[in-house]
Symmetry: C2
Subunit: 228 residues, 2 copies
DNA sequence: ATAATCTAACTAACTGGTTACTTAAGTTGT
DNA sequence: ACAACTTAAGTAACCAGTTAGTTAGATTAT
């Protein structure tokens, strides 16, 4: 009767990958909003439009679902950012490209910073083997690459003599903090929606300006947008 | 009948303030480590060396206890920081004094940043009247005072033309991020304990250097410690 | 072709452990 | 007498995870 379009194995309701993806997407939202302890599997299932038992059909337990979320978040970031760091660019341009890419990634995935932060909080109270994996797989390579760029720029005289071990975290703080912390306060203090494109562009320019001033030896020509 | 040897386990302990304070201190630890959803009232009572019913004797419920914690955290910060901001100092010295004071406050209360962050996360998913109070009472005055200093410094030509609305959050990000996020990663990546006095001094110098470079128009004489 | 059978995908309803919070009756120091 | 506690038992809600199925398309046998 029915010409089967795809080779995919179907269930009673349709594309299984679609269901899995819906669950993951809902889990990202829920974990971002409520944190790992506050997230409710019932809420995830409801948001995904799926029975709760299906969560356990696709994922061993809440923890496994959380880890899938974590991998999606970090995987996306490193894919984006490493591509930029692999380009052949002079140190200044490369750092600005990296900062811009990192900013753009979190700006278009504003749910991710709270998730990352949640994971860091978890690591505070006892490092799991899971967290060691994340550090090895995602943090360390990123850190190493950026540290290289910093050393290059210092060698050419473009960058001030900063300690990468402290400078890199400060830089990331400036990039990410807006999304993980500033937004709600700003919304309440100014009435402005901080996630609207115009504000995001403003913030982006401000971040690039801040980091340029903190790192470059001499004032530097404008990067791309006008600084503010 | 029974000569009570110890300072007594049962009944009145004399100073009620002491019990209340013990509960609050334990609550700070628990909320910092586990977040608001993850915190367990049983754990707080046990850590305070007090029966769980006593929590409810002093605090209406978990939420009220949490709010008491929040007020302690923010109250302490503003007390410390406003004192510095009220001093008669030239803009550069005042900003550096503020950053130093803010840093010192969180460095000697490393449990506070996670609590603040938890509160901000909570505000993300729907602003409570409680959070509005916090913004009005703590955030807005602090923001206003720092913005004044920035304007002063810009008027004297000491500071670059930055937008306070973006610069202030970035500055706070650099101050706080180490405690709320970097520490666990650093411990795992380098094996170094990030909270040891030597590292803290290093971090402090680095933060002052970073912010000075980002804000001051010309390189500036060294603030107090040597920059790194 | 058709019926029988298989299997992945999915659901409604439940289970049992956990957790915030309460109650009531008593103890102790001032 | 009164405020500051302790003890112990309990309740109701909540919530992660399970169970025992149902459904629909795919495969196989006839």
């Amino acid at each position: 009767m029915r010409a089967v379009a795809s080779k995919s194995r179907m269930g009673s309701r349709g594309r299984p990958e679609q269901s899995r993806a819906a669950i993951l997407r809902a889990a990202v939202r829920e974990f971002a909003r409520e944190g790992i302890a506050g997230a409710r599997t019932d809420a995830i299932a409801r948001a995904a439009g799926v029975n709760k038992a299906l969560l356990y059909y696709y994922f061993k337990d809440k923890e496994a679902l959380y880890e899938a979320v974590i991998d999606q978040v970090f995987g996306g970031l490193t894919a984006n950012v490493h591509e930029v760091l692999a380009r052949r660019l002079p140190p200044r341009a490369k750092i600005l490209a990296y900062v811009g890419a990192h900013f753009d990634y979190v700006a278009s995935n504003p749910l991710y910073p709270p998730i990352v932060h949640g994971e860091l909080m978890r690591a505070r109270r006892g490092s799991t083997p899971q967290f060691e994996r994340i550090v090895k797989q995602y943090f360390r390579p990123l850190f190493t690459k950026i540290a290289e760029v910093l050393r290059d720029g210092q060698a050419t005289g473009d960058f001030r003599q900063v300690d990468p071990m402290h400078f890199i975290p400060s830089m990331i703080a400036v990039i990410v903090f807006y999304f993980s912390s500033v937004a709600p306060v700003m919304r309440l203090m100014t009435g402005i929606n901080p996630m609207v494109p115009e504000r995001l562009a403003q913030r982006r320019a401000s971040v690039l300006d801040f980091i340029s001033a903190a790192l470059f030896t001499h004032p530097a020509q404008q990067p791309e947008g006008e600084p503010k």
